[in-house]
């Protein structure tokens, strides 16, 4: 392997490639991390920087890490083929590792792709877990002005990303449909010369879906994303709509939207509340009944009304994991019986574990996806690095504002002190415990969550619900994959 084309630091830190070649009849370790498996601490998961993993015993780990493995052992061959060690025979494999490492971090250099426009804060529903401060329908001063929207479109195209995804958020986004139209038309006009991969998504509760809106969405290929929290009683309890049956209306409009836009142009998400915890099977059955082949088990987050109404504290990370595991077991059972449905939280984790490119899910990125993967233009012109950041602002804490579209330039906003601090302090590669964690190649950071919980972007991982949820999920998936058979095959089939 030829030495890389480097600028050598004054310390001579980077040594020529020939100096790393292991002696004959020996092997060298490739960078890796490890964790004992929860519930069976003699089993150890070893994970390398490419995200590949093996499950071995602690005794095998010690022998491997201290250079005691024999080349004739099956474990030796397995570790070598999965890039955990190299010897004189396999040193050329290092050339394979390099592009894969680069690919893992490709998204960082692509930069901001997701642009969320909060076109209005007005909403007609009163969800207790709402992550924004809602306003009643008739308060028009909470709509985004046209000049702010136009500036937002200009800002979105300043990113070098080959993809520009524009997502309309609220409140209830369709309450400001006129502005949505303006933004779409403006973005498409710019894209005539920009030639990016341009996508639009409208997040909506589906209660204001007129034929005019559907016609426009069809013409401009806009995807619709809505919320279904489960069966009617659960959905209506979580998402009350005064004087209306919210569930019945959203179901009827899902059908209308599918008819107008196409069956795969309507997606649904659910938010897990305490009421959901005992009903994962019913939620999944409801999604199937409505014709969805994917469900996303999303935990509550500590923002906006979720904290104001104490909904957030309704369950722990362990309770959420129990809910998710039961739901996943049921989904695997359904798949075994020929019913295709996936669970998105699981598929995102599987992409991180098995896909070479990983996933764009912002909470599983390091550096965090805040600002550099997704960005939010609030109705009032303030810019935030994430949807959670603007939710925290709605609670009265404006520390996470990056700037204002009408007053600050692109460089000032993306180079703001708060954004750089957020990314720096939440970097998993250098955060306490995360830096050494076996799951770090798969995990990410959530500076907003930790800021909301402890006013600290790094967080205290030994007690972090974010950490507990992710490590619990990784452990469970590893166990399922280790058991093999149909469940493992089904999970692997979800990897993109």
């Amino acid at each position: 392997m030829s030495p890389p084309n480097l600028r050598l630091s004054k310390t001579g830190r980077f040594r020529p490639g020939e100096e790393i070649s292991p002696p004959p009849d020996s092997y060298s370790l490739m960078p890796f991390r490890f964790e004992r498996l929860e519930g069976d601490e003699e089993q150890v998961v070893v994970v390398n920087d490419l995200g590949e993993y093996l499950l071995i015993t602690h005794e095998q780990l010690v022998r491997f890490a201290t250079g005691m493995l024999e080349p004739t052992e099956p474990l030796y061959r397995e570790l070598r083929s999965h890039q955990f060690l190299f010897d004189r025979e396999s040193i050329s494999n290092l050339d394979v590792v390099v592009p894969r490492l680069r690919l893992k971090k490709q998204r960082v250099s692509d930069f901001t792709a997701l642009n969320m426009f909060v076109v209005t804060l007005r909403c007609n529903q009163s969800c207790p877990y709402c992550q924004v401060s809602r306003q009643s329908e008739d308060r028009a001063q909470f709509d985004m002005p046209e000049e702010v929207a136009k500036k937002g479109v200009e800002f979105a195209f300043r990113s070098p990303s080959p993809d520009v995804k524009i997502e309309f958020q609220g409140g209830e986004s369709l309450l400001n449909f006129e502005l949505i139209k303006s933004i779409v038309i403006e973005a498409e006009a710019r894209n005539e010369t920009e030639r990016r991969s341009l996508e639009f998504v409208a997040a909506t509760n589906m209660t204001f879906l007129t034929d005019e809106i559907l016609d426009f969405f069809r013409e401009h290929n806009i995807l619709v994303s809505t919320s279904i929290d489960g069966p009617a009683d659960l959905h209506n309890k979580n998402r009350p709509y005064k004087g209306h049956d919210a569930f019945a209306e959203v179901c009827a409009n899902i059908a209308r939207a599918r008819s107008a836009l196409g069956p795969d142009r309507v997606a649904a998400l659910m938010t897990t509340t305490r009421s959901s915890l005992t009903r994962p099977r019913e939620i999944i059955d409801q999604y199937l009944e409505l014709g969805f082949n994917a469900v996303f088990f999303r935990p509550l987050s500590p923002y906006g009304f979720a904290i104001k109404t104490k909904s957030f504290y309704e369950y722990s990370a362990d309770e959420f994991l129990d809910f998710w595991k039961e739901g996943l077991d049921y989904i695997i059972e359904l798949n075994r019986n020929g019913v295709f449905i996936i669970e998105h939280f699981t598929s995102i984790l599987l992409d991180k574990m098995f896909s070479r490119r990983g996933t764009g899910y912002v909470n599983l990125q390091s550096p965090a996806g805040n600002g550099i993967a997704g960005i939010v233009y609030n109705y009032d012109g303030y810019v935030y690095a994430s949807d959670e950041g603007r939710m925290i602002a709605e609670m009265g804490d404006h520390s996470l504002r990056l700037g204002h579209l009408l007053r600050d330039g692109y460089d000032d906003i993306l180079g703001s002190d708060v954004l750089l601090q957020m990314l720096d302090e939440s970097l998993a590669e250098s955060s306490p415990q995360c830096a050494d964690c076996g799951f770090q190649p798969w995990c990410g950071s959530d500076p907003d969550y930790h800021y909301a919980m402890s006013r600290d972007f790094t967080g205290h991982k030994p007690t972090s619900g974010f950490c507990k949820k992710n490590t619990g999920a990784f452990n469970h998936i590893i166990r399922l994959m280790a058991e093999g058979g149909e469940p493992a095959r089904i999970l692997k089939s979800w990897v993109r």
Partner: protein, 103 residues
């Protein structure tokens, strides 16, 4: 916090201070720790939090310090190759100029 406190000692010639501290940090959700430096040992006194017994914490602590020691070995053994691979992987990235580097 339960009142069942315990203590564990780690020999300095076997385990580094960094390994012990990292293990304590990892387990800080399970117990409150006090770390003392004696002549030949790192002495850890702990007070288990609710839901954790003294034996749970003691067992976890011993395993965790052993693991942190092993992580030190792995880090040391792989530092060169990791730096080399990362540098090679991103050698074509236009990351801007850094102070103190040769041209």
């Amino acid at each position: 916090m339960n009142a069942d406190r315990g203590s564990v000692q780690f020999q300095k010639k076997v385990y580094s201070l960094e390994a012990v501290k990292k293990a304590l940090y990892r387990l800080s959700g399970r117990a409150i720790f006090e770390l003392r430096d004696t002549a030949d040992e790192w002495e850890v006194e702990f007070f288990p939090r609710d839901g954790w017994s003294r034996s749970d914490v003691e067992e976890s602590l011993n395993a965790s310090v052993l693991d942190e020691d092993l992580r030190e070995i792995v880090r040391r053994e792989t530092e060169t190759i990791r730096n080399l691979l990362l540098a090679h992987a991103f050698s074509r990235a236009d990351l801007g100029e850094s102070e103190g580097e040769d041209r």
